[in-house]
């Protein structure tokens, strides 16, 4: 599809654009369903399962957007590392399926619905009024190009992220070793 062409009518399902759109919608649905499961599940392990589904949906979106490297890193880091670390925390802490103990917060009743409605109304209004323009393709999203960008244009952000991660690791070590004798 020509990126500068405005979409005036929905393409037919069995054209290339239609199938692309269908795949995109399926990915969106997977991501959203995963997110909803992660938020609403009563058992924490099921919430992790939902989070994994959500991350896989996001990875599929990256792949769809022609960045396979970012998609695979999303799988490797978020599914393979973050979710497993969360699962470890749950298994070691063993929260015993605590459900709804204590009074519900002030945002859990009608007030919550009003807040959610206002936020989504604001986002939808913003999305409807924005004039979307297609951005020119920067590069092919390959590993070399991303690496060169990281170490030239975005080297400051890259270094800052590594400093933040270093601080997090040192903090975790300090907390973990506090109770030990040696």
């Amino acid at each position: 599809m020509n990126p500068s062409m405005a979409i005036t009518e929905a393409p037919g399902l069995f054209t290339a654009d239609g199938l692309t759109g269908l795949i995109f919608l399926i990915m969106m649905a997977v991501t959203l369903i995963g997110g909803i499961i992660a938020c609403c599940a009563e058992r924490l392990v099921r919430a992790i399962a939902g989070l994994i589904v959500c991350f896989i949906g996001v990875a599929a979106l990256y792949y769809f957007l022609n960045s396979p490297f970012v998609a695979m890193m999303q799988m490797l880091i978020y599914v393979g590392a973050v979710c497993i670390t969360i699962a470890f925390a749950i298994m070691l802490a063993a929260p015993e399926e605590s459900r709804k103990n204590g009074p519900a917060g002030p945002l859990s009743g009608p007030l919550g619905f009003i807040t959610a409605g206002l936020v989504s109304f604001g986002l939808i209004a913003m999305a409807m009024r924005t004039q979307f323009t297609s951005h020119p393709k920067i590069n092919n999203g390959t590993m070399e190009e991303i690496g060169i960008e990281f170490l030239t244009s975005y080297s400051m952000a890259f270094e800052l992220i590594s400093v933040v991660l270093l601080i997090a690791i040192i903090g975790a070590l300090v907390i973990a070793r506090a109770g030990r004798s040696k």
């Binding site: 392990v45 994994i52 396979p68 695979m72 890193m73 799988m75 590392a81 699962a87 470890f88 298994m91």
Partner: protein
């Protein structure tokens, strides 16, 4: 358009068939190998050399009732075996069997295999948690901690190889080692004198990643009944086994492609898929041989081996290779 769709369907069917056939006959090979090592006859009644045993076992597993224990988390219990098998099939998509035989060669092939392999730990975790059995939960915690610890040295060693070859494309890595065994990555070169050490680390890690003895703490039958698949019967159990053997094939293929020259011949003659298959089945035979000759380690010994020995050595190797690549 339709030809592309047909190609995709053919690739998926071949990947599933290859994984399933390997799983079936590697079980047979494993039982025969175990029997030979333990000096007893293995499955040798059905067909010549017992070769009809795997299809009969398959029929038995498929006709059994799938029992779900009371109090188990039904959804996670059902999802876990599928999650054990599906990533392995995805990984077959990007493994090149020879220069022409590859479903979809990606320029980030190594990364893709590691990304999908990381889903396997979640399958074990869900299986253990979903069965609501204390032995299963203990086994899954063990297996996941093992998988996480051994993924790190495995990735670092893979990065060393990627740095030497300058590519993440499995096909390119294999082609760079073409033309005789002295070009293979396993042998030390000026840029990476510690390559044999890398190979040993990678091999140990692939044993541990597939939960094979001596690292099968996740299914230590003397302590934990049958580990994370204690509660599984019929095809749920069958899928776990298929996933395990498919992962073994992937581990052997990755070792072959990264270190042993892929489909290249040791003497530069007739490179092709037959050399690749020969190499991976030799590696798998080594897997089986190791499983039935070494005793099981302890969980602390296992984790100490990874964190205190393999990770420092592989990091040192990475730094050394990076330095020498800059010099030469």
């Amino acid at each position: 358009m339709s030809l592309t769709v047909l190609n995709v369907i053919a690739a998926v069917v071949i990947a599933i068939a290859f994984a399933a056939a390997n799983a079936a006959y590697l079980v047979w090979a494993e039982r025969r190998g175990a029997a030979r090592i333990q000096r007893r006859p293995g499955p040798n009644i059905n067909g010549p050399f017992g070769l009809l045993q795997p299809p009969i076992d398959g029929i038995k597993l498929m006709t059994k009732q799938l029992m779900i224990p009371g109090g188990a988390d039904k959804i996670l219990f059902m999802v876990a075996p599928v999650l054990a098998m599906a990533p392995a099939i995805m990984s077959f998509v990007t493994i090149p069997f020879s220069e022409g035989i590859v479903a979809r060669n990606m320029d980030i092939g190594v990364l893709m295999i590691f990304a999908f392999a990381s889903l396997g730990a979640m399958a074990i975790l869900f299986a253990g948690w979903g069965s609501r059995n204390k032995y299963s939960v203990m086994a899954s915690v063990r297996a996941v901690s093992q998988n996480v610890s051994y993924e790190i040295p495995m990735l670092i060693t893979a990065i060393t190889v990627i740095m030497v070859n300058g590519s993440m494309d499995l096909k390119a890595i294999s082609l760079a080692q073409a033309g005789g065994f002295w070009h293979w990555n396993i042998f030390p070169s000026l840029q990476s004198p510690l390559m044999p050490v890398s190979f040993i680390i990678f091999f140990i890690c692939s044993l541990a990643e597939t939960n094979r003895a001596p690292f099968d703490l996740g299914e230590a039958e003397s302590e934990l009944v049958a580990g994370f698949h204690t509660e599984y019967g019929s095809m749920g159990f069958g899928l776990f086994f298929m996933g395990e053997y498919a992962n073994i094939v992937i581990g052997a293929s990755l070792t072959t492609l990264l270190f042993l020259g892929g489909w290249g011949c040791p003497f530069g003659l007739f490179p092709g898929v037959w050399w690749f298959l020969l190499k991976i089945y030799l590696l798998i035979a080594t897997f089986i041989w190791i499983r039935w000759t070494f005793p099981r380690t302890t969980i602390y010994g296992l984790l100490n081996l990874s964190w205190k020995i393999l990770i420092p050595i592989s990091l040192f190797n990475l730094l050394l290779t990076a330095g020498l690549l800059k010099v030469f």
